[in-house]
Subunit: 334 residues, 4 copies
């Protein structure tokens, strides 16, 4: 049994991690931590998440001394702010922990990216160069040997899973940038007091148009340009991405079907639809990413859905852990 | 044309007041004000409420000098915090303004009430003694001559409109306290960043059980004891109150119907159902309070619904203004 | 491994049963059936419930010959209409199956009840007299020996769990009937095309006032009179019941706490709150019933919450199966 | 005062028409009609729409004899099924009524369109050739002289208002088809019992991809090809359309701003944002269409929002009536 620690356990992603790990047969959910400044420090986890009362009643310990927090811990999940992850991941790594970072701090191998999109200078470039991008269905070999796994963002996960088979096959006419229109639930904004996330204020709307950090994350890892337009939806959980792209002349519906089948037939957490397009409800509360597509001439529309907190965050992190430690890939996830 | 000022115009109730007054043929919507400390001070009203873009584009002026704010103003609506209303109402009153206070600061003629339920000492007891409780259907005569009208709370409005005909008729066996179970939309908590009002956190639940300030407001003005149990509902607007009470022996369904008809047949904003019980949607977005009832033996269930921001606040305030100045009671309201 | 059959697997409750049984280590989910007239007959289960794609892909077989359906089946769950359960339960029972009936057909040991509240004459009174009411926390001994278990209704489950400790202790002044105000999610109306359940029509409202079938089910099994007022809420799942009752003189808060603790301390699926009252979100998606209470003088308010499809239906049915066959009571449920 | 008749007044669009006409100073809301087969025939309008109790209490008369229905009627609104409008519009027209048809039956001047997209043969080609497409901001001159106005569909209204200034200016690189991703509220499906529109089933999802009737309506009237991907959203009302298009080289942000300003500066019901993008809540419950845009290099994203039942249907119909009869364009609308 390996000992696991979740830092940032008071947030929505941290809570989902706790739920998965608590029922995992091969690991202990050893400790939950939050920022020492957090108003939740010292509270019981199930006070914040009453559905876990009696199931996960660990305290939310204030993180005072990072090195001390690493004692007796084999695996760390960082569900923390980008800069916090940037700062504390190396401490855990140097103590020998395997770190799954759910922030954006180690996702892109270009330190200038952080200055531009996250507003801070990346100072841990050695660790950055060793970080493996945890897109589980595509990077399993590297994940299985990494010490630092940068779990992809929620939008990038569904976007890449939906486009990568086409990119790899060279099917896209990339002169015309794929248009990714995605709508996310409010939980994507995290658990905090905010007028924007307030019940009476939430309303379907685009945000971060042409400026969202996930655009370069997607483009970098896919290796093509994309237009990415995120929206806030009036629901709590899930992301639906409708992706419009142009195929090279001659690519048939059967060709498309085939590359998706080849990519995912052995991947238990991606479900490709033979016909029809997925609805959000197909994945909310599950660890799956579902993908469907429709074609008309050279135009292809791919629709991908996932639960932003699960396959878009906590479930993919646990999937990476399962891969890293040789457990069944879906252990505790389905 | 009378000049009106709304203080606290950035909040949900203030915004509804602005919408009503803007279309009122006999008054000018002269100025909108907010606390000088408010982050909204200086913004345009329709920046906060984009639905009114082009309709109400007044600035939200910071309230720096109350006496100066009263200049050229005939009518003031205070959609402000209780203590702010307590403090500033007298300044406007002394300048000759007619004041409609939507806070709780002048609703109960017992200064000890404020210490116990609102946590502050009432120092303007002269004005308190002159304040008229603006339950429009019942206090029209007094409202028409008052300078300070204390507009009732949202829960008290629907609760009293639903119970008062029975109380006045002496139909209730008051040994058994009426049970008022009410559920309010999230807008009742006001426009502010708060984890409790956050989209992902809102969930049907009781709150303020046995301790809510509206219990004594209801009980005092009805003159009977009641059990009042408010709930937060997962919708933006509206209150539904289900009231279970015990009738004195011999009171018939026809008796009940008759007292409601007598009470409200000439009251355009209260709609009594001859059969069936109201749903929330009957009143959301309207100035109406709808009431229905069902009887079995000595048990009577009265169901009242209203929009908490309208008949429960802004619409009743405008209705009081209409009564006070001799306009048609429903002017700008339906 | 015991073989299980779900009849009525296309409905919301049937679907939850399928999800539980599919992951149960001691039973096989052998077959899913629907009415031969159902438009869903012949479809794949996960076509209706895409979240279970890859997890439960059994066909929804049309039920043509009941006796034949019983072949090789040890356990039957009837998530069927009341009259269908009335008719087919005996066929399964005579073939030796253990039957868990989630309809109302065998819940009350008084055949006149069915004529009055369900509109049909009960003709299987022998089986009715042998049926055990599956309120799991209170009737475990009888459940463990029964062949026909009548799983309680959703409202009756949460209402009885909330009141029974008080009734058994003799704490209630029953001259004043407890007032049960409960609000249920729309899934309680079942999976069917209906204007009432339509997205644009749903709005908080009372229904079935003084006439709902669950009132006599609750009153009969508790042995006291109650006023039961159900409401339709604008959410998909869950029931919150706010119960106002009068205590006998001298019953203290500590007395109340004690009887709840005694009743449920060994019951893993009922969580009693030492302080505070539960919100709906504490139980949605879980098999728990959470209970809290607040007292003021002789007035006691008990608030109980459950997921109407789970502890109010499918989870309690599986809990009963676990008890009946000696499995761990919470197997597959938490 | 002109006499108006609404056919199909039981539906959501018909109800909004009734509300507008009831408060219009220059017309009488004379009669409301529904199909003779409708279960609502004979009911009172406010029985279906309780918010209008006391405001619109007209009966929903069964339409038995169309010619007779036209007696004494000056203006007819057809909020009816496409084939019904196709059949009955000529009868009203021949009696001299001015007809505003909210169905798709007279929107496209190509009779083959109807066979392909609506599944019926258009037999009233004379009237079809006289019909004027009621896109109010662009066709006012023709509307002012027409007897038959085909009010545009909901998606086509917001799509065309958002794209037409760019098309007219010749700014688009039309080799790359604009991508219209739009999400509509459930009310777009109409008022009827349907599993798809059921509260528990609704979930964000695309539908009608590459096959929706509104694609050719948009493309025909704009005169360019477009990719149109509609989605069902989990809200009652409103449409948000996110439109991604490619500008010709050299078109600047200022150029774009200018053509939108020129197009709509005198159009009171279209609000163009100088900065920022609209949220759905800016227009729900209003007669406005709000439009914003963001540009990056040659890529332009235009976001348009409207209330699908109002500017997307009833409000635009009334706006057309106002134009046709020389009333103020926004009479009864704002």
């Amino acid at each position: 049994m390996l000992n696991t620690l979740i830092v940032g356990a008071s947030g929505y992603t941290g809570a989902e991690l706790a739920a998965y790990l608590q029922q995992h047969p091969h690991v202990n959910l050893s400790r939950l931590m939050v920022s020492a400044q957090s108003a939740d420090a010292g509270k019981c986890f199930s006070e914040l998440y009453p559905q876990y009362r009696g199931l996960v009643d660990l305290p939310l310990e204030p993180m005072v001394d990072v090195a001390k927090a690493a004692e007796n811990i084999d695996i760390v999940f960082l569900a923390t702010a980008h800069e916090v992850s940037h700062d504390i991941a190396p401490v855990f790594l140097e103590q020998g922990c395997v770190v799954f970072d759910l922030s954006g701090a180690y996702r892109v191998q270009n330190k200038h990216f952080y200055q531009q999109y996250y507003g801070f200078e990346h100072k841990n470039t050695d660790w950055l160069s060793q970080a493996v991008y945890g897109l589980a269905e595509w990077n399993a070999d590297m994940i299985s040997q990494a010490q630092l796994i940068a779990v992809p963002g929620c939008y990038p996960t569904v976007s890449q899973l939906s486009l990568k088979p086409l990119v790899e096959a060279g099917f896209l006419d990339t002169a015309q940038w794929p248009v990714i229109n995605a709508t996310s639930g409010v939980s994507g904004a995290g658990r905090k007091a905010s007028l924007t996330s307030s019940f009476c204020e939430v309303s379907l709307q685009p945000y971060g148009v042409f400026t969202h950090r996930h655009q370069p994350e997607i483009a970098t890892h896919l290796g093509i340009n994309v237009i990415f337009t995120p929206h806030l939806g009036n629901f709590a959980r899930g992301i639906l991405a409708t992706i419009t792209c142009k195929l090279k002349t001659g690519v048939t519906q059967e060709d498309v079907r085939q590359v998706f089948e080849d990519a995912y037939q052995d991947k238990p957490l991606v479900r490709v639809y033979e016909k029809g397009l997925p609805a959000l409800k197909a994945v909310v509360g599950t660890a799956f990413c579902d993908i469907g597509f429709a074609q008309q001439g050279e135009h292809l529309i791919v629709v991908g859905v996932e639960d932003n907190l699960l396959k878009g965050a906590a479930a993919q992190a646990v999937q990476c852990m399962n891969i890293r430690f040789g457990f069944d890939e879906t252990e505790s996830l389905i």
